[in-house]
Subunit: 217 residues, 3 copies
């Protein structure tokens, strides 16, 4: 993750990025919390699924790329924050309904989709992997936390069967990041454009209720 | 995968092997496509499951053996070919029925079972792992793509509960490969015999409808 | 695993520990066997699930910590023993009922929970990982074999939804091990206390039927 930083406009860029990452990680964790609570898991299960949803995609990417330490070992404050979130959520979430939370999460989740895709692509390109592999690593980073959440909750992954484009925009955004890099754009600009494009397309496709075509007529 | 090549009869052996690998990978991908389409996944899900079915077993083996680059990074043309296959399948498969495709896949799938087992065993032996571990790596290579497919599709893996011997023949074929190696057979001969034996037993057991014994009487 | 040995009282300590490990691995394997037989899997599936339940947690830990060779490659006699167990179980278990076996497994399973947690924490601390990460590795070592078993059997992992504290005691025991290490306790004492504490709490919580609080009121 530090790979991009030297090229970012120093102070505010770094802070903005860290804030976006924290918001997106939070949104991913909340989606895990909500799904696990819906399935009536016990508190241990809810916490584990929140962790897996938030960190699973990046961990799988790091495993595949053979990177150590994992990003959540480097940034261990994220782990502690998530543990605190789980405890707080356990105390406060009982009497609330989920719908408002889900709508509130749409924005940071879309930003996370773009941001984590760009980070994954960037890390893979930094290891000299070919563009197609780098884009796949970007999609894995942003999408597979949710896939692992759904596997643990014993569902078919939502990203694969709800017919709303999600991983598709990550795939498109990953190619945009690759293209911007080849075109010589500075890293901070490529990152900003990729996040805007991916998150924007995701949000528009939710608002307009765009559907992927059905596989069979 | 290049490990075996120097010992193969140079030109035609290499081409034959590449053709078999391509056919088997195609058969694995098609089994993913069909299963995902049956489950009414959206096009993104169908493509992801085709990829995971085709490459999941070898990727898990490479992860366990700590091998990098992954074979699909070394042979990136396989990734591109699979992407093209998914797009073509999406355009053409809608109006077709699945049964003929499944019957057509029986042969290349059986060949893949033997071929990927032999490749996995060979790679593990090359890393000085003990024979039992090498055979397990062979079984993982040829069987776990399908296992991951079924996990993602939210089924109990077919290899574990359809009572038709599949992983069992991979296990037997893996030991055959080990034995042939110990007996001093050249690599190309060990490969050819293992593939013939494993694929042959698989095909016979399908035609004769052999069943594994039930666990409980 | 050899990491702790020099500090143990030499001969009997080592033997005791090996005996406990063997008993716990056996208990984990049996829980996989029973669950898979209940789901009517075929013999191949039952054996694979026994292997995954027994070795999955430690393998995932080794993958995450980038340790090779895996512990089951170093101690390949465990693999052979498990293979023998599967064959014996297939011949003898048909006519028996499961309840007595399950009660008999409660003790070694609880010991395994404590022992594998301590081993996982110890390995991670030895790699200079922070305490929270080490405790997570301990929990993964002792709990994720069962999680993988339930994923393969197409269930929500029991550790996440049966409301009986299991992973929770592993988490607590992991912190106890960390604390004892910081307090300067010799490794064999830290191990013995962690195992006693974790296994004891697990057994008490089963006998007293303690329940985790429900997530929603």
């Amino acid at each position: 993750m530090n790979h991009l930083l030297p090229a970012l406009p120093p102070v505010w860029g770094e802070w903005l990025r860290l804030a976006l990452e924290a918001a997106a990680t939070l949104a991913f964790a909340m989606s895990g919390l909500i799904e696990a609570a819906r399935k009536q898991l016990d508190p241990v299960g809810v916490c584990v699924i929140a962790f897996v949803t938030a960190f699973g995609g990046g961990t799988l990417r790091d495993l595949l790329l053979d990177r150590r330490p994992f990003f959540w070992v480097q940034h261990i404050e994220f782990l502690w924050a998530l543990l605190a979130l789980c405890i707080v959520a356990m105390l406060f979430m009982r009497q609330r309904h989920f719908q408002p939370t889900e709508r509130a999460m749409l924005w940071p989740d879309a930003v996370g989709l773009g941001l984590f895709t760009a980070v994954g692509v960037d890390l893979a390109l930094g290891l000299q992997l070919p563009p197609l592999v780098a884009v796949i690593m970007g999609v894995i980073t942003s999408v597979f936390g949710g896939v692992l959440r759904d596997i643990l909750c014993n569902d078919i992954p939502r990203a694969f069967n709800d017919h709303r484009p999600y991983a598709f925009w990550a795939f498109a955004g990953g190619w945009a990041y690759v293209g911007l890099g080849l075109a010589g754009a500075p890293a901070w600009l490529a990152l900003a454009l990729t996040v805007s494009l991916t998150a924007g397309l995701r949000l528009v496709s939710v608002w307009r209720n765009w559907q992927l075509p059905s596989w069979r007529a």
